[in-house]
Symmetry: C2
Subunit: 145 residues, 2 copies
DNA sequence: CTCTGTGCAAAGGATTTGCACTACG
DNA sequence: CGTAGTGCAAATCCTTTGCACAGAG
């Protein structure tokens, strides 16, 4: 389900930006690239640090604004993980699934889903245009039990 | 699935607190009571306002701390809804399912789930003690399409 | 060339401490 | 009675604006 290369996903996101009339600036490219290569599950400031490892010219504000933009486009999504700042997760193909350990905040992503049918049912019942979904299991990982 | 009365749910939460050695103060009782009666999906400050309608003696700090405590116990969970402050949702029986409209931030809760099997599979595969889950569909509601 | 996007600094909120006081058990 | 819990105010952290400048199209 999730066998796209980073390259492909980068292109998809850039295409989505372009299609909506947003510009493909070098800052945005670096931000998207870094977000993809680190796999998501990162805060805005955390992402800024990653970016600064290779490029100091991108500013914090641009990271915040780009993440907000990508959220609006439905490409990523902020979630709470532990306390404090928002963590952004990637929404490949509109959905995302993970386990979170409430002990150590470790994250394990998975692909199983089985929610297509439920989604269709809900879309009909509530007259709702479903664009994607997030599934989050929480509990205790191997080490924290 | 979700046919518990407010009374029952209040007792369950209070029992969970007691069992873990936490005290059942009057502030905590009011906070939990207000949270249940408003159905969740509310910010800390929003909840404080609701409480203050009937009781001005509960302080903001206590609300924040109680919500954090309930989160640790797995009884509620903070989520992003729109931007700004964290919204807390109730986790009855460990799980919660809703639709969120990305246009107007309306929330529709539902009971369908069908994730028990997936949960068991994941628990085995990752040696993970699953305590509950959250399912969030997002898209556009009837009015926002 | 024009207008979107950027970066800085400062403002604005939300959440978290530190500490003396209260009250549950 | 002792300790967990509370409330206030100040501190801290995260995020958003205001504005002049830079760069994509």
């Amino acid at each position: 389900m999730d066998d796209k290369s980073l390259e492909t996903r980068l292109n998809n996101i850039q295409a989505a930006l372009k299609q909506k009339g947003y510009r493909l600036t070098s800052s945005r490219q670096k931000i998207v690239q870094s977000l993809l290569s680190c796999g998501g599950h990162i805060t805005a400031d955390g992402l800024l640090e990653v970016i600064h490892e290779t490029d100091k010219t991108v500013g914090r504000m641009t990271v915040y604004r780009t993440l907000e933009l990508l959220s609006e486009l439905g490409l990523i999504r902020p979630v709470y993980q532990g306390t404090g700042a928002a963590h952004y997760i990637l929404l490949d193909g509109g959905h995302h699934h993970h386990l979170i350990c409430s002990g150590c905040d470790a994250v394990i992503e998975f692909d199983e889903c089985g929610l297509q049918d439920v989604g269709k049912l809900l879309a009909e019942r509530f007259n709702f245009a479903i664009e994607g979904h997030l599934v989050e299991f929480y509990g205790r990982c191997h080490n924290c039990q």
